[in-house]
Subunit: 395 residues, 2 copies
């Protein structure tokens, strides 16, 4: 008899966004006069794709309509034009990569799941919590031991490693989802040294790097000396260029990265050629437009809109005098619930009083309780009204 | 220390298409007067996307350019409009599915790799060879025992199950890659009964179903009674609608499919919500156009072009008197190499004498040696010239 992967039975039911929508629905049903809610919950972009990307997508669709320009199977690890454009983009910030250290993916979440195929089941996974829930769940599905590592207000939600622990796979997300915290060069260096010493591998989730504005905060783990021998970087255009529904990401696996005589770059080539047939030509052409000068200029305009939203929210929290982090180099604002409320109590309190919807911190790990996440990806007018209502309610 | 997944070391190097291109290059370098080769090797389509799909793609790109129609994150298991269109498509051929038994994927090869996440590592995988090499390789990466099951001329390369063996995961591809063989209703029923009896799961690769013309050949395993409790079907628009470089597939997991108290449909929902963020909105809109009446009419025109190529090739083989299968309900023609040549000998013979490039059967499993695959996806004029040259050389 075929035995299913019974690790699925060890997954906790994930009710976070489901509960948010159920609670919102129930509230609106009971309060029929309420017409409007202010949605600062789910981390999804609201601005359309920039015009450079739109033109490139149309042009690629046209290519697919004519025999002479029609593209069949794409190279499994990514189209050379896109791998090269991404490698050049890294070069601009001082990270030297060859194009074949860049792998094109369907997105960071897809790749964060798939990449675990490179590691033995016996390897443990360290997750710095609060965290994106899929880090834990993907490893539960694989049957791995999870090392829960708690970030806190004391370390601004970006902790140093603890030399008393060990772990094989280490997740670091900077700028962080959900806390908006950023890891300084110094902190990242400590994690890189820790990983090299223990022969661990860091999975560096750089999905929000485009929001960094402070010059001394690294955008890439490969800005840190020694990362070449201990890190894989997973990035995405979802937040950088509004690709959440268009889908494209990329992954950097240095050729120098090996354990036990196995080179992870070679292994990933073999994985991709076995388990995929490449990423859509059309989407790869759209993505390449992001890395042109005009594309970079246009995506920065959109990012600035979200940054302005962040400023509106953090100004409000400053007025109220609530502790928070994030919002400056990150599209998330992470705040301490006032009056010792639990994060779900605060959720209800905001919904019932000012119809503002955020995400309870408890959804990102046990130690997220008592905290709350706002995203800055929402509509600008809604964000302004929500901020105003927050001040009126809480000041 | 992190231990890599050492199963990668058990993979045999896959030199099939690499060797084909190296040998071709070397030949052309030595024979500078040769200007032209006839490529019937790689199974990639050559006709552009049909106009219904092109219009839908353009319109979806336009949606992504405007705030009001912009689509962010798509539902992880597929857009409802596409899941419903696919369920209705199955209904037309008498297979009743609910939309949430349909999962949208990036393509069949992607899904064939990912889906193994549902099964325990201890489960064995039966591969009917000659076969698409990724079936074996994906299971080697997962550390599974492979049961090599040999198809042969005697069973027209579509064997019945052998009741003396057991296996947990069973791959069936019909119409078959590489042999073009099709499984009759009777044969599929035997495999379904075998799987239900042994509590195995059939992974049914239906990527070439659109090429079936005989009315009594099932397009879907779910046309067979009992398949609901033992099968997962993986399909793709790659060959159906020329999506090899555009990427979209779909997977059917019946709600009735369970083992050990675990429902695979629920598990796959959990897998997709953990390990993906859905498939590109643009590509899903393009795919939905395939399932409209106009889309169906247009893709059938393209398929007819490939079927005409098949006829040209099989007519030539009939003239020569070479044994073959496929070509009628399938886009591949699988032939016995003449004069007891090995498949690589025959490859060299064709390249050197008539510059026709096919795929040696040995690349699809040990028992594929002595056989050879032609695809019918090539250019029509090239296919005609190749067929003529074949007749002149071999008759």
């Amino acid at each position: 008899m075929l035995i299913p992967n019974m690790n699925y039975a060890n997954l906790k039911d994930s009710y976070l966004f489901y509960n948010i929508s159920k609670k919102t629905e129930a509230y609106l049903k009971k309060n029929v006069l309420i017409q409007k809610t202010y949605r600062l919950g789910i981390g999804d972009v609201s601005l359309p794709l920039c015009s450079a990307v739109i033109s490139a997508l149309h042009s690629a669709v046209d290519d697919q309509s004519k025999k002479d320009s029609f593209m069949g199977y794409m190279p499994e690890c990514g189209a050379p034009f896109l791998r090269e454009a991404i490698a050049k983009h890294y070069e601009k910030r001082g990270v030297a990569l060859s194009a074949d250290e860049v792998f094109v993916s369907s997105g960071a979440s897809d790749e964060l799941g798939d990449i675990l195929d490179l590691f033995d089941k016996s390897s443990s996974a360290l997750v710095i919590e609060p965290a994106y829930p899929a880090y834990v769940d993907a490893n539960i599905i694989a049957g791995r031991e999870i090392v829960h590592y708690h970030a806190s207000e004391e370390d601004s939600f970006a902790p140093y490693p603890d030399n008393n622990i060990t772990a094989d796979i280490i997740y670091i997300c900077s700028p962080n989802n959900p806390t908006g915290a950023v890891y300084s060069r110094d902190k990242l260096k400590a994690w890189v040294d820790f990983a090299n010493r223990n022969k661990s591998i860091i999975l560096f989730d750089a999905a929000y790097e485009a929001f960094i504005e402070d010059e001394d905060i690294p955008h890439s783990i490969f800005e840190i000396e020694g990362a070449n021998t201990c890190a894989i970087e997973i990035c995405s255009l979802s937040k950088t260029a509004g690709f959440t529904g268009t889908r494209l990401g990329y992954t950097i696996i240095p050729k120098a990265l090996e354990r036990n005589g196995m080179r992870f770059n070679d292994m990933w080539v073999r994985n991709r050629t076995t388990k995929t047939n490449g990423i859509s030509y059309i989407i790869q052409k759209g993505a390449a437009a992001v890395f042109t000068d005009e594309g970079q200029r246009q995506i920065k305009e959109n990012i600035q809109v979200y940054k302005n939203n962040a400023k509106v929210l953090t100004d409000a929290l400053d007025k109220i005098g609530i502790w928070y982090c994030g919002g400056k180099n990150a599209p998330y604002v992470w705040l301490k619930c006032p009056n010792d409320m639990s994060s779900w109590e605060f959720f209800d309190y905001l919904l019932e009083n000012i119809q503002v919807i955020g995400t309870p911190g408890a959804g990102f790990g046990e130690n997220g309780d008592g905290y709350f996440r706002f995203t800055t990806f929402g509509d600008t007018e809604d964000t302004k009204t929500a901020a105003q209502k927050l001040v009126e309610l809480l000041k």
